[in-house]
Amino acid sequence: MTLFLIVTLNGLTLAALYFLAASGFSLIFGLMRTVNMAHGALLMLGGYVGYSIVDATGSWGLGVVGGGLAAALAGAIVQAGVLGWMQGDELRQTLASIAISIIMADLMLWHWGGLTYQVELPEALAGGQRLPVLGVGYANIRLALMAFALATGLALWFLIQRTRFGAVIRAGVDDQDMLRALGYPINRIFVLVFALGGMLAGMAGVVAASALSIAPGTDLQFLLSSLVVVIVGGMGSIGGAALGALLVGLAEQYGLAYAPTYGVVFTFAIMVLVLAVRPQGLLGKAEL
């Protein structure tokens, strides 16, 4: 029973991370139809920058914000500098973003080396807690991570559903040409949304580097999880990203605990099952 509870909590932790990573990916895809293959690289950049900031200043909060801002800036540059020029040609954008992610990953390897880093935790988040009701001990940082993902999800929901900027994004998702015709600077909105997605990825990177660790290959891990999460949950839907992350995170941890050498198969099976029954994803809107 204790094992089951711990595995469930681990699954929720992973789901929280996957949600943070996939929400930005999904947001960008929903508005721009861009499959940003550099998303994992943005996440890793955030993680590394966050690590360096925490290492230099000792402030964890500053590290999270700094990592997020670094990835936001990189995302904005990617959209404004490269992908924006190929808007509408999705295959070309995908290929270009792959090229960018290869370059970014290699340059990060150059600068930070092949070591595994873990961001040092602030005092309040180090150590663990005995959870009431469940009766198992669990690491503070992981609980904080879940709270952080929940807060981010709510903030994102508020931004998209309740603010003027969110209304513009939703209008862009539904009818880009109309939005352009109404005089909204769509290219600037694209860059902003890309920065927002990068920010989410970057913060996820710092949190991932704190709760787990970060090393070359982290980018691929989170790119895969983001892909599967949005395929399962539905492209461009924040709720879908949450549901997909929950399913994938739990499946991965149960798989690891109960069938160690076949863990990935569970994730994969979920994806295939969803594709067979609902190709547009659980909460996705059907295309065409």
Partner: protein, 322 residues
């Protein structure tokens, strides 16, 4: 005869090249080209860019390693005349299954799904020790001796790769003219109309993927003989991207471009040490890919045919600019 004009120099190549050039450049380009051909076939005729070609090639390669001589003591030894057809068959089946999974997806959706399949397979080979021997994989895989001729000999492997490449191209050009091949192209152009004619869309898509599995599998078998080992890294993001880059450099609009792309890629890979730090090869290849995507989305092949067309008919060009 145009094919003969290309084939005769290629057959004579071993006479002028030393072993380094023959093995490291010529044979490697051919093998990489065959794997990339499986991708450019799908891209050209089905209109789907698949990231799962390294997976299909890897399944064939792993089959050869598992059922052949290797130095890790896993698997069962079978004679080559069973293991080779078996490897090809499994590659075809895996291709068909991947097609079945991705059948309702087009464009970027298909990219995402095939990439997820490819990366999931990579993590699976890394986790699983009973079939794939995990992280380390198989080493000491030896190409068989067929009729007293060892395929480990550079010349024999080169000629076999050349023969396979020619056969693969011939198969592609024959297949796309067959009724099934024409249906595949019809699905690419107008899936709705194909459905309206009462033809299932699923069968052509699965068939196209299965056929690409055959091509990728052939490349995968040659590759495992060439490398003499296979591991999770042989099916990871590196090879997935390499195959894609080769196909994109060559141009996704004509299958033969894959071989042009392969030669460029292998030359870059072999001689990048002289240009830049060996460690930064990925940055170089990323920049090359980015430049190709920005400047020549049709690939080198398209670029070349544009130039040829411009040289041939300069007066038409002038008229059209007026």
């Amino acid at each position: 005869m145009r094919p003969a004009l290309i084939l005769i120099p290629l057959l004579a190549l071993p006479l002028v090249l030393n072993d380094f050039w023959l093995t490291q450049v010529a044979t490697r380009s051919l093998i990489l080209g065959i794997m990339a051909l499986s991708l450019s076939f799908l891209a050209t005729y089905l209109g789907v860019v698949s990231f799962a070609q390294a997976t299909m090639a890897g399944i064939a390669g792993y089959t050869i390693a598992y059922f052949g001589p290797n130095s890790v003591g896993i698997g069962v030894q079978l004679p080559f005349w069973i293991s080779i057809p078996l490897a090809l068959m499994l590659a075809v089946v895996s291709g068909g299954l991947i097609g079945l999974i991705a059948r309702r997806s087009r464009g970027i959706y298909a990219i995402m799904i095939t990439l997820a399949i490819g990366v999931a397979f990579f993590y699976f080979t890394r986790q699983n020790y009973t079939l794939f021997n995990g992280w380390t994989g198989f080493s000491g895989v030896r190409a068989p001796e067929i009729g007293g001729l060892s395929l480990r000999d550079p010349l024999a492997l080169y000629l076999l790769s050349l023969g396979t490449a020619v056969l693969a191209l011939a198969l592609v050009s024959g297949f796309v003219r067959s009724p099934l091949g024409l249906t595949i192209q019809a699905v690419r152009d107008a899936p709705g109309r194909v459905l309206a004619l009462g033809i299932s869309v699923t069968t052509p898509i699965v068939a196209a993927f299965a056929f690409s599995g055959l091509l990728a599998g052939a490349g995968g078998i040659l590759n495992v003989w060439y490398q003499e080992r296979i591991s999770s890294f042989s099916v990871g993001l590196g090879p997935i991207i390499d195959i894609l880059i080769v196909a994109v450099i060559g141009g996704l609009r004509h299958p033969a471009g894959a071989f042009v792309g392969a030669v460029v890629f292998v030359l870059l890979d072999t001689f990048a040490v002289d240009l830049i730090d060996r460690e930064r090869f990925n940055t170089l290849i990323g920049v090359v890919l980015l430049l190709i995507v920005i400047v020549a989305p049709g690939g080198l092949q398209q670029l070349a045919s544009d130039w040829v067309a411009r040289l041939r008919r300069p007066e038409v060009k002038e008229k059209s600019t007026v």
